[in-house]
């Protein structure tokens, strides 16, 4: 499956990447190659094989509902590019998601 330039731009927008036209042109065949590689799985996938979502044969890993210590706030906010009023400061939000 070959990706069009518009599809590359769309994927780039979702990832918040700004691409030049030259980059789009270069990436389209590369991304198409990756897709083609993944599509090989389809050639061997059979109806009687359950899709795998995880490499480990593990299920039901859980924990009891018991509080554990959180991090000290100064350590948490030390990782923030900008902190204000004990909160993470981020640039103005332009559109709402979720």
């Amino acid at each position: 499956m070959a990706l069009s330039a518009d599809e590359v731009r769309h994927v780039a927008r979702l990832a918040r990447l700004a691409l030049t036209d030259a980059e789009v042109e270069a990436l389209a065949p590369q991304l198409s190659q990756i897709l083609a590689y993944a599509e090989q799985v389809g050639e061997v996938a059979a109806q009687d094989v359950e899709p795998t979502t995880h490499p480990f044969a593990l299920r039901d890993v859980s924990r009891p509902d018991e509080p554990q210590p959180s991090l000290p706030r100064e350590d948490v906010l030390a990782a923030a590019p900008h902190a204000e009023q004990d909160r993470f400061g981020v640039p103005r939000i332009v559109s709402e998601e979720g």
Binding site: F56, V61, S62, P67, Q68, E84, D86, F88, P91
Partner: protein, 513 residues
């Protein structure tokens, strides 16, 4: 727009006719309203969904956070088993099927209230499928009609952080920066998606109210809309009867059951107007403006594929074998429909029963009856004067210290003639003032509130009033029976409102002759 659910099946909606709901009248003919609701419920677990951070409401900003809920590289989420148990319990209460195996997906989007840049949610295989809810919709004449709303799915996910927009009035647009508190980020959240089986605003409101009551009955959340522990979005579309589903809009910012009803009614008329004027409905998210009573475009909806859902490699599948599901089923409490039936048998009217359940007063009712109160009387006091006084004070019953035993004691004091209804209301105020430290009998004694029904004492006062109001007495003797009310008032005044009204009336008639 793809007419499939997240699990890939075609969307199936009921019709207004099946539910006996009237169509909407437009300028060019009749329209059928089709509504589906997405309800989010925040669970009341002690810890978050994927980490051991406390879920304490109102903690200082960013004090309940750790590497997992702030999305630090390498941090690994681990499922909270209590959250899965709670979700299963609610799923069973909603008559759902528990999936033997379910898994978690990442829903990818950039928004700073989720530090990971994705929300862990469920996609193709949610925990619960195919539930339903029977809702009682009031018909306005004191009666109600029962309508079934099917539930497509209930899935587990996580809540987001809270943003504070600064630099202007606090609204999103025009804010110059946003400040994020991640305390709420990662708190277990359930999303309950109804089928588009709702065809009028009343049924939508009844559904949300019933769901809220069920959530509270199961104890998995306090389901308070004003605090955001239950939230509702509405998917609204219109179509000609018999047509395919129309394009839907999603309405957000519905902060009360009343807003839900108003927003649906507004949006239905807006869509009909657009189509009748030759326009088309755009699939978008719209914001309900409560003050102006309108919906406005918030953003054009991203398609599901844009979220690039994929199974979260950090989490493993959750299994729900039959024996585990059945063990949880035994924990199901009495559900609101059964409570309503039981209250009805105790002599409580359907409206009062609904109010008792919806406002979470059932434990108080049960305690009052257990302490000897008559059911009808207990219901009257709880949803009547007590609820009124609490609301006026802005207090919850637990904060006011009022117990079911207090209600029973109050009713007993009325029944034995110690208190009139009027005095009993003052006693309720006294108990609330004392935050329950004093019971009704104590309050009545301390404040000297006691109905004067001692015949000798009352007769003396009645005779004085009759002697002092010769004109009125003449009028009564002359056939103006209503004038007796003025004399009752005089007796009440003399006794500071403590005379037994029934006895006062009897004695007045006797003395006047």
């Amino acid at each position: 727009m793809s007419a499939t659910t997240m699990s890939g099946e075609p969307i199936s909606a009921t019709t207004a006719a099946e539910h006996g709901v009237d169509l909407l009248q437009g300028d060019t003919g009749e329209w059928e309203l089709v509504v589906g609701l997405e309800v989010h419920v925040e669970l009341q677990t002690r810890t978050k969904m994927w980490c051991g951070c406390s879920t304490d409401f109102g903690a200082d900003p960013n004090t309940n956070v750790c590497p997992v809920c702030t999305g630090q590289p390498g941090a690994l989420p681990v499922v909270n088993e209590q959250a899965v148990r709670d979700a299963t319990l609610l799923g069973l209460a909603l008559n759902g099927e528990i999936a033997p195996i379910c898994r978690f997906h990442r829903k990818n989007y950039f928004y700073p209230d989720l530090a990971k840049n994705y929300q862990i949610s469920q996609y193709d295989v949610p925990l619960v499928n195919d539930g339903w809810l029977d809702v009682e919709v009031p018909t306005g004449d004191g009666q109600s009609v029962s309508r079934r709303v099917r539930i497509e799915r209930l899935h587990m996910e996580e809540d987001t952080g809270k943003s504070l927009h600064v630099g202007d009035t606090g609204r999103l647009h025009g804010a110059d920066r946003s400040l994020i508190d991640y305390n709420r980020c990662g708190i277990p959240l359930l999303e309950i998606v109804s089928r588009p089986d709702i065809h009028d605003a009343d049924t939508a409101q009844a559904y949300l109210r019933e769901l809220q009551s069920i959530v509270r009955a199961t104890g998995v959340s306090d389901a308070r809309m004003e605090e955001g522990s239950i939230r509702c979005d509405a998917n609204v579309s219109v179509r000609r009867p018999g047509d395919e589903l129309g394009t839907r809009t999603e309405i957000k910012n519905l902060n009360s059951i009343r807003s839900l009803g108003r927003a649906i009614a507004y949006e239905a008329q807006r869509q009909i107007g657009v189509i009748e004027d030759g326009g088309t409905i755009v699939m978008e998210t719209r914001h309900w403006d409560e003050g102006r009573g309108v919906t406005e475009t918030l953003r054009v909806k991203e398609s599901v594929t844009d979220y690039r859902y994929f199974p979260d490699p950090d989490l493993v599948e959750i299994t729900s074998p039959a024996e585990k599901v059945e063990a949880i089923r035994t924990l199901l409490p009495e559900l609101p429909a059964a409570s309503r039936a039981r209250l009805g048998e105790a002599g409580v009217t359907p409206e009062q029963a609904a109010a008792i359940i919806a406002t979470g007063l059932l434990p108080w009712f049960d305690d009052a009856v257990a302490a000897g109160a008559d059911g009808a009387a207990a219901a009257n006091w709880l949803v009547g004067d007590i609820a009124g006084q609490l609301s006026a004070e802005g207090l919850r019953i637990e904060a006011a210290g009022l117990t079911g035993a207090h209600v029973a004691e109050l009713i007993a004091l009325i029944e034995d003639g110690t208190l009139s209804t009027k005095l009993a209301k003052q006693v309720v105020a006294g108990v609330i003032d004392a935050r329950g430290a004093k019971g009704p009998a104590q309050v009545a004694e301390d404040q000297g509130l006691r109905q004067v029904s001692d015949e000798g004492e009352l007769r003396t006062i009645v005779e004085q009033v009759v002697a002092a109001n010769a004109d009125t007495v003449e009028a009564i003797r002359g056939g103006n029976d209503k004038a007796i009310g003025a004399l009752v008032g005089q007796v009440m005044k003399e006794t500071r409102g403590q005379a037994d009204p029934r006895k006062t009336n009897e004695l007045l008639r006797e003395v006047i002759g």
